[in-house]
C-alpha cells in the first residue's frame, strides 16, 4: 500500500492514474455501449430477450436480412447524398464567409460572431423554423423563388419525394455553415501575413495567391472541418425528426434516422444495431482522417 502511495507521489504511478481515469471513463460511457451495440448486431433480439445479454447468436443473418430489404440501398444512397450535399454546402458557404470576414472591415469580427446564432439553436427549433420557411403553401422560400421567377408553381418541399431530402439538406447547411466558417477563419488567421507579401513581390496575383498560399496552408484546417462535418452530418437526427420524419415513403430517410426508427418504433433492435455498426465504420474512417490532418499541420 505504501509502495503504491509513494509511486503516486514520485510521479510514475501518478502518470498511470492520469491515463487510467479518462480511459475508464471512455470505456464505461463510450466503449461498453459500442461493444454492446456491435454484439447485438450478431444476435437475434426481440422484446422478450431484450432484458438479457445471452441471446441466440445468428452470425451475419441480420446483415443479410438488412441488405435484402428493398429500402436499404435507397436509404444508404440518401445518406450519401445528404452527407455530400450538406458538407459541400456548409464548407463552400462557410469558406466563402470566412474569406469575406478575413478582409477585416470595421465590425468584421463582431458580425462573424453573430453568425454563430445558427449553431447555438437546438436542432428541433431549427427544424421548426425551417418547417415554416419550407412550407408548400405559405413558405417564404417558395415565395422568394416564385417572385424571382425561378419556379412557376409551389414546391411542396417536405411532402414531395423529389424534394424532401433536399429540404433537410438546406436546413442542415444553414445549421452547419457557421461552425465551418469559424473553424476556417481560425485557420486563415493563422497564416502569417508576410507570406502574402512575399508572394505578392514574387509576382503572384490574388488568384494565384489563393491557390498557392491560402489553400495549401489551410490543408489541415480543411481536412479537419470536412472530417468533423462527416461526423456531424452522420449524427444529424433532429432535423429529420422535425422536418420530414424520413418520409414520404423513406424518400428522405437516412441511416441514422432509420436506425432509430427500426429500434424504437418497430422494436427491431438487432437491425437498428446492425445499421449503427455500419455507420460506426464510416465515422471511424472520418476520425482517422481528422486525427491525421490535425497532426500534419504545416507551420513555419
Amino acid at each position: 500500500m505504501r509502495r503504491i502511495l509513494s509511486s503516486i507521489r514520485d510521479g510514475h504511478g501518478f502518470d498511470i492514474l492520469l491515463v487510467a481515469f479518462p480511459l475508464g471513463f471512455l470505456f464505461l460511457m463510450a466503449g461498453l455501449p459500442l461493444i454492446y451495440n456491435a454484439v447485438m448486431s450478431f444476435q437475434e433480439v426481440d422484446m422478450f430477450s431484450l432484458g438479457t445479454f445471452s441471446r441466440p447468436f445468428v452470425g451475419l443473418k441480420n446483415y443479410r436480412d438488412l441488405f435484402a430489404q428493398p429500402e436499404t440501398w435507397p436509404i444508404l444512397y440518401n445518406t450519401l447524398v445528404f452527407v455530400v450535399g450538406s458538407i459541400a454546402g456548409q464548407f463552400l458557404i462557410g469558406f466563402g464567409l470566412a474569406l469575406f470576414f478575413w478582409v477585416n472591415f470595421p465590425g468584421a469580427s463582431w458580425l462573424r460572431g453573430l453568425f454563430l446564432v445558427s449553431w447555438v439553436m437546438p436542432g428541433l427549433v431549427v427544424g421548426a423554423v425551417w418547417n415554416w420557411i419550407l412550407s408548400g403553401d405559405f413558405g417564404v422560400l417558395n415565395f422568394l423563388l416564385r417572385e424571382s421567377g425561378i419556379i412557376s408553381g409551389n414546391i411542396f418541399w417536405r411532402s414531395d419525394p423529389q424534394y424532401s431530402l433536399y429540404a433537410v439538406i438546406i436546413a442542415n447547411i444553414w445549421l452547419g455553415t457557421a461552425f465551418n466558417m469559424i473553424l476556417l477563419s481560425v485557420g486563415l488567421s493563422a497564416i502569417p501575413g508576410d507570406l502574402y507579401e512575399a508572394a505578392e513581390l514574387d509576382g503572384a496575383n490574388a488568384w494565384q495567391r489563393f491557390w498557392t498560399i491560402t489553400l495549401p496552408m489551410m490543408r489541415s484546417s480543411i481536412g479537419a472541418i470536412i472530417a468533423l462535418g462527416l461526423i456531424f452530418t452522420l449524427q444529424q437526427f433532429d432535423l429529420f425528426a422535425a422536418i420530414t420524419s424520413g418520409g414520404p415513403n423513406n424518400s428522405s430517410n437516412v441511416t441514422q434516422y432509420w436506425a432509430w426508427e427500426l429500434s424504437f418504433r418497430q422494436y427491431d433492435f438487432a437491425k437498428g444495431a446492425t445499421i449503427s455498426v455500419i455507420m460506426i465504420v464510416f465515422v471511424m474512417f472520418a476520425s482517422v482522417v481528422y486525427v491525421r490532418s490535425t497532426r500534419h499541420e504545416v507551420r513555419g
Binding site: 512575399a198 508572394a199 505578392e200 513581390l201 514574387d202 509576382g203 503572384a204 495549401p216 496552408m217
Partner: protein, 355 residues
C-alpha cells in the same frame, strides 16, 4: 551614375501619424545603400514603400526611371528579403526558389534549372528537397536570399535580414551578402538598426530619425563629419562623448565644462561665448602622463576585453575612453587624457547642427 531608385518629396501618413516627411533620396544603380536609424524612425516604412507593400501619400517614387506610385508590388520587379524570411512553409526549398518563376508561367524544367544554378552559388544544392522547417536559421536566410536572386530583379530590398541570427553567424552573413551584391552587380537597399552593419556593408548610409533623413553619405564621411548631434551619437561604437562648452574669449578656442573649465585651442574661429556641445569619440582620446595631459580626471570604471580597455571617467558628464591594449589603470586612479583638437566636433546647442 544612373539613379535606379529615386524618391522626391515622399510623404507617408497613417491617419494623424506622419511616418515619412519629405523624403528625397536617390539610389544609384549597383550601389549598396543602408537605411539605418532607431526603431520607429521610418526606415522600414520607406523600404516597404519601395516594395509597394505600403502606398506613399504624396511625392514621386521612380524605379529604373518609371513612376511606381500606383504600381502593385508584383509589377515593380523588386525582390525583398524579410526579417522573418517569409519562406513558404508548405513548399520545398526548390519550390520556394522557383515560385516567382512558376507564377509567371516559366516551364517547370527551366525553372528547376534556374533553381539549381542559384542554389549552387549560394551553397544550397544539397538542400533543395528539404522543407523550411528542416533548415537552420542560416540556411533559411540563404533560401530567402536565393529566392530574391533567382528573379534578377531591378533592386534587392533587405528588411533587417540578419536580426534573427546569432552574433557569429551575423558577422559571417554580413560579408556573404556584400560579396553576393558585388558579384551580381545588384542594386541593394538594406534596412538595419545596427549601425555597424550599415557602416561595414554599405557604400552609402542613410541615417533616419522620426520620418526624416538626418544625413546620407559614405560611411566614413558620416563618421568623420556627422551633420548633427544625432548622427554623431548614432554612428560609432561606443557612442561619441558629448561635453557642454562655450566659445573661448580669444575667438579660436572652446572651453569644455567637465566639472572645471578646460580651454582647448581648436585652430579655427569660434564665436566667443557661443553655447556649444562638443563631441569627442572615445577612440580619439589617448592616455598621457597626468602632469602633461590636457585633462586630468579620475577613473570610475575600467572594463577590459583584452584587446581594448574601456574607461569611464568620474566627471560630469562622464567620458567614455577606448584605449588599445591593457591601459594599466584601475578604478579610482587619476589619469591624464589627451586628444587632437582637430578631432573635436562642434555642435550648436539649440539646432544641434554641426558648426
Amino acid at each position: 551614375m544612373i539613379a535606379q531608385i529615386e524618391l522626391t518629396g515622399v510623404n507617408k501618413h497613417y491617419g494623424n501619424y506622419h511616418a515619412l516627411k519629405d523624403i528625397d533620396l536617390s539610389i544609384e544603380k549597383g550601389s549598396f545603400t543602408a537605411l539605418v536609424g532607431p526603431s520607429g524612425c521610418g526606415k522600414s516604412t520607406l523600404l516597404r514603400s519601395l516594395a509597394g507593400l505600403e502606398s506613399i501619400s504624396t511625392g514621386t517614387l521612380k524605379i529604373a526611371g518609371d513612376v511606381m506610385n500606383k504600381v502593385p508590388p508584383r509589377k515593380r520587379d523588386v525582390a525583398m528579403v524579410f526579417q522573418s524570411y517569409a519562406l513558404y512553409p508548405h513548399m520545398t526549398v526548390e519550390e520556394n526558389l522557383t515560385y516567382s518563376l512558376r507564377v509567371r508561367g516559366m516551364p517547370k524544367t527551366e525553372a528547376r534549372k534556374a533553381a539549381a544554378e542559384v542554389a549552387r552559388t549560394t551553397g544550397l544544392s544539397h538542400l533543395l528537397d528539404r522543407y523550411p522547417r528542416e533548415l537552420s536559421g542560416g540556411q533559411r536566410q540563404r533560401v530567402a536570399m536565393s529566392r530574391a536572386i533567382i528573379r534578377h530583379p531591378k533592386a534587392f530590398l533587405f528588411d533587417e535580414p540578419l536580426s534573427n541570427l546569432d552574433a557569429a553567424l551575423r558577422v559571417h552573413m554580413r560579408k556573404e551578402i556584400r560579396a553576393l551584391h558585388d558579384r551580381l552587380g545588384a542594386t541593394s537597399v538594406y534596412v538595419t538598426h545596427d549601425q555597424i552593419e550599415a557602416m561595414t556593408m554599405a557604400d552609402r548610409v542613410v541615417v533616419m530619425r522620426a520620418g526624416i533623413i538626418e544625413q546620407q553619405g559614405r560611411p566614413l564621411d558620416l563618421y568623420d563629419k556627422p551633420a548633427n548631434k544625432f548622427v554623431a551619437g548614432f554612428i560609432g561604437s561606443p557612442a561619441m562623448n558629448f561635453i557642454p562648452a562655450q566659445g573661448g574669449q580669444d575667438g579660436r578656442s572652446v572651453v569644455l565644462d567637465l566639472g572645471q573649465p578646460q580651454s582647448v585651442d581648436v585652430g579655427y574661429p569660434v564665436q566667443p561665448g557661443r553655447e556649444l556641445t562638443v563631441g569627442l569619440r572615445p577612440e580619439h582620446i589617448t592616455l598621457a602622463p597626468p602632469d602633461k595631459a590636457m585633462l586630468k580626471v579620475p577613473v570610475a570604471v575600467v572594463e577590459s576585453t583584452g584587446a581594448a580597455t574601456y574607461l569611464t571617467t568620474a566627471t560630469t558628464p562622464e567620458l567614455a575612453v577606448v584605449i588599445n591594449g591593457r591601459g594599466g589603470t584601475a578604478a579610482g586612479e587619476t589619469v591624464g587624457l589627451d586628444f587632437e583638437p582637430a578631432q573635436l566636433h562642434l555642435f550648436d546647442v539649440k539646432t544641434e547642427r554641426r558648426i
